[in-house]
Symmetry: none
Subunit: 211 residues, 2 copies
């Protein structure tokens, strides 16, 4: 209202005095199957458009739909397609080009946003999963500890005859590792805690070592 002396929708842009008229006079279109880009020389014929300097801001919905559809087909815009579109929509080819550029930019940032939320949920799942695995590892280690203790006990029992002087390991529940070390040596521990080094140990020989 106040600073909108500009009646926008019907407003004409005066910004183009320099309609690039200085451009080539040599049309000459090449048929050479150029993989990409290039060729586009002439620039005069479009006077028929509404004088480049008078462009509306905001394209009509129809125009946008059309462009959008065209964009889905192919994000890149070759000269021919551009000119065709421009003609069909009654736009300056430059506008079409600009539209595509902006559209690509928009597309990129939208993409990023999507990627982000995708990654985000994936990440969240992983965190949960990781947590689960961690507790599982803990649990397994604990169980393994128990088992080893048991084995040790049985072995002792066997060697000493019967369980005469059995000293409850309860006192040393936390120093198990130390006991282990004494009995099984370092590698056992390594196996337990750094299991990833050689997955699938095929623990057969492992067993035999300790009997």
């Amino acid at each position: 209202m106040n600073h909108q002396i500009i009646e926008d929708d019907n407003m004409v842009l005066i910004s183009q005095y320099y309609p690039d008229i200085y451009t080539q006079l040599v049309p000459q279109q090449g048929e050479s199957k150029p993989r990409r880009r290039r060729r586009k020389k002439n620039k005069l014929g479009e006077g028929s458009d509404q004088m480049m300097m008078m462009r509306k801001r905001k394209l009509s919905e129809e125009q946008v739909n059309f462009l959008e559809q065209s964009f889905e087909d192919e994000h890149k815009l070759e000269s021919e397609r551009k000119d065709k579109l421009a003609a069909e929509l009654g736009l300056d080819p430059r506008q079409v080009a600009v539209w595509f550029q902006n559209r690509r930019a928009r597309w990129k940032s939208k993409k990023l946003e999507e990627e982000y939320s995708k990654l985000k949920s994936e990440h969240d799942n992983n965190v949960v999963e990781k947590c689960r695995l961690e507790t599982e590892v803990l649990k397994l280690k604990e169980q393994l500890n128990e088992s080893e203790k048991e084995i040790k006990r049985l072995l002792l029992e066997r060697c000493d005859g019967v369980s005469s002087n059995y000293t409850s390991p309860s006192a040393s529940s936390f120093s198990m590792e130390a006991q282990f070390l004494g009995e099984f040596g370092m590698e056992a521990l390594d196996n337990v805690f750094y299991a990833q080094e050689n997955n699938y140990v095929q623990g057969l020989d492992w067993v035999n070592l300790y009997i």
Copy 2:
């Protein structure tokens, strides 16, 4: 070198007839903690807006630096600050406002990008970690299996031979571990014993060797 035909920097700004003298005479910094937004009433001087479009595009580096610095102080822009900046830089207050809006937008998307790559690396680490944990779990299960096998073997051996009637060694056990077992109950044990079912069978037969 070649495409610098545009002298751009010498383009005149017509926007500054009105040095915004109309600015507030009642600065009145509110103590009232107005959550947001200020008042701003008069609006007269700006009438000359229509030639807007002839503004120089691109602010000078100095102007940008100044604005940038101001932006770091505070992303929001109150009228007073806006007018002050505009005056100092010889810009239309509107331009300052626009600049800040655009700057905020840029900041946001940059932020998003940062967040993304942060999340990304975090995620990647997690994947590796998860993988490591998975193999560790496998390995632990295997080891546990071995241990249990060994225990069975020893128990059998003992029964067949000396056969002391020692029962359930785990009963005697220690505070921590007992609690642990109790907590997870039988299923924990099940997991251990039948671990192979779910993952990587690999070597079912050797089980039989020992029983």
